[in-house]
């Protein structure tokens, strides 16, 4: 009887009532644990549709020179108004702390004093791995200037701890190279990082498909940031829906706690003593 009474029609409500710790970045609470980028889509319309389908509340964008008389920047900001989304400008394409600080300041001016920033300082064009020395240097300067920094970094737990100590508001290790879609290649390092820092840990880069998102969230990370997995899917809108559910599934599975692994079978039906 207890089996049947625990499956009411409002099981979804029962599930959400089992509380999860809120996902908080720089004092603001979010219900979605999926963050998305706005790059690489075939059109602004597709960007908008896919991102809205993903349910993401935080969207990244890049800061670039205006192409003369081109309205792209305006279109992007019109498409993702700050009343609806938290904008996360990044320092993409910067290879030195100096350049990253410069772009960060421009982004803050562009967005009228907006302090939230995705800091990334890259070390190499082939791997797009972060240069952690330059990243630490830039983080120090920008934290002192009042930026709230979500920092893209390597999967090194020592560096993660140092970035956290500097005052970064989220640590965002890669799970595989940016745009590679290789999935979670460093689960033990990601777990070390979760144990090393007391701010949200967000896997940034590496996720290729929904099962990768589930696996990442099952580790207990706070959220995932992705771009290429949606933009380069055959159908970005459908993949956005898949990722939304993958992130939720992985989070719920983490909270639920999986069954133990056994080498041998364990019957699901009661074993009758006699027939």
């Amino acid at each position: 009887m207890t089996v049947f009474s625990s499956t009411p029609s409002n099981s979804t409500n029962t599930l959400s009532a089992r509380t999860d710790a809120p996902f908080v970045i720089a004092g603001k609470t979010y219900t979605s644990r999926l963050l998305v980028g706005t790059g690489k889509y075939a059109s602004i319309e597709l960007t908008s549709e896919a991102i809205r389908a993903s349910g993401a509340q935080i969207v990244t964008l890049a800061i670039q020179r205006t192409a003369s008389k081109a309205p792209e920047g305006q279109a992007l900001l019109d498409c993702f108004p700050e009343s609806e989304f938290t904008l996360l400008p990044n320092t993409a394409g910067c290879y030195t702390a100096e350049d990253a600080v410069r772009v960060a300041r421009l982004g803050r001016e562009l967005l009228d004093g907006h302090p939230l920033l995705k800091l990334e300082v890259l070390g190499d064009q082939k791997t797009l791995f972060p240069d952690v020395i330059q990243t630490l240097k830039a983080a120090k300067i920008l934290v002192d200037e009042g930026f709230q920094i979500m920092v893209y970094t390597s999967d090194d737990p020592i560096v993660a701890r140092q970035l956290c100590d500097l005052g970064c508001v989220a640590i965002m290790p890669l799970a595989a190279p940016i745009g590679s879609g290789l999935g979670i290649q460093n689960r033990y390092n990601i777990e070390f990082i979760m144990e090393s820092v007391d701010v949200p840990v967000i896997v940034d880069a590496g996720v290729g498909t929904a099962s990768d998102a589930v696996l990442a969230m099952e580790l207990g990370i706070d959220a995932i940031l992705m771009n290429t997995a949606l933009a380069e899917a055959q159908d970005p809108v459908r993949m956005a829906v898949a990722m939304k559910h993958g992130v939720i599934a992985g989070r719920q599975a983490y909270l639920a706690g999986r069954m133990p692994r056994r080498r041998y079978a364990s019957a699901s039906s009661p074993i009758p003593e006699f027939i």
Binding site: G37, T38, G39, K40, Y41, T47, T60, L61, A62, I63, Q64, R65, T66, S68, K69, P71, E72, G73, Q74, L76, L77, L87, P89, N90, A92, R102, R105, L106, G107, E109, L110, L111, D112, I178, L225, M226, N227, T228
Partner: protein, 79 residues
Amino acid sequence: MITDKLPTLAQEMCSIHLNGQSTRFKKGSSISDVITAQELQGRRIAVEVNGEIIPKSLHDAHQLKANDRVEIVTAVGGG
């Protein structure tokens, strides 16, 4: 008419480096003038002159000098 004006025009123009490209503007142009000439008025942008950010509130007042390096940036898609 044209011959009358040409020397005056030449005198009144100066070059600035706008987003890395040499561009000619009337001497004494403000940042707002450059923004208007680029048809970027009303758009969300940020402006840097010789490495220093010039806040929006100063775009009208800030006059550009010859050889100023002016960067105008906006938001584009990125991850």
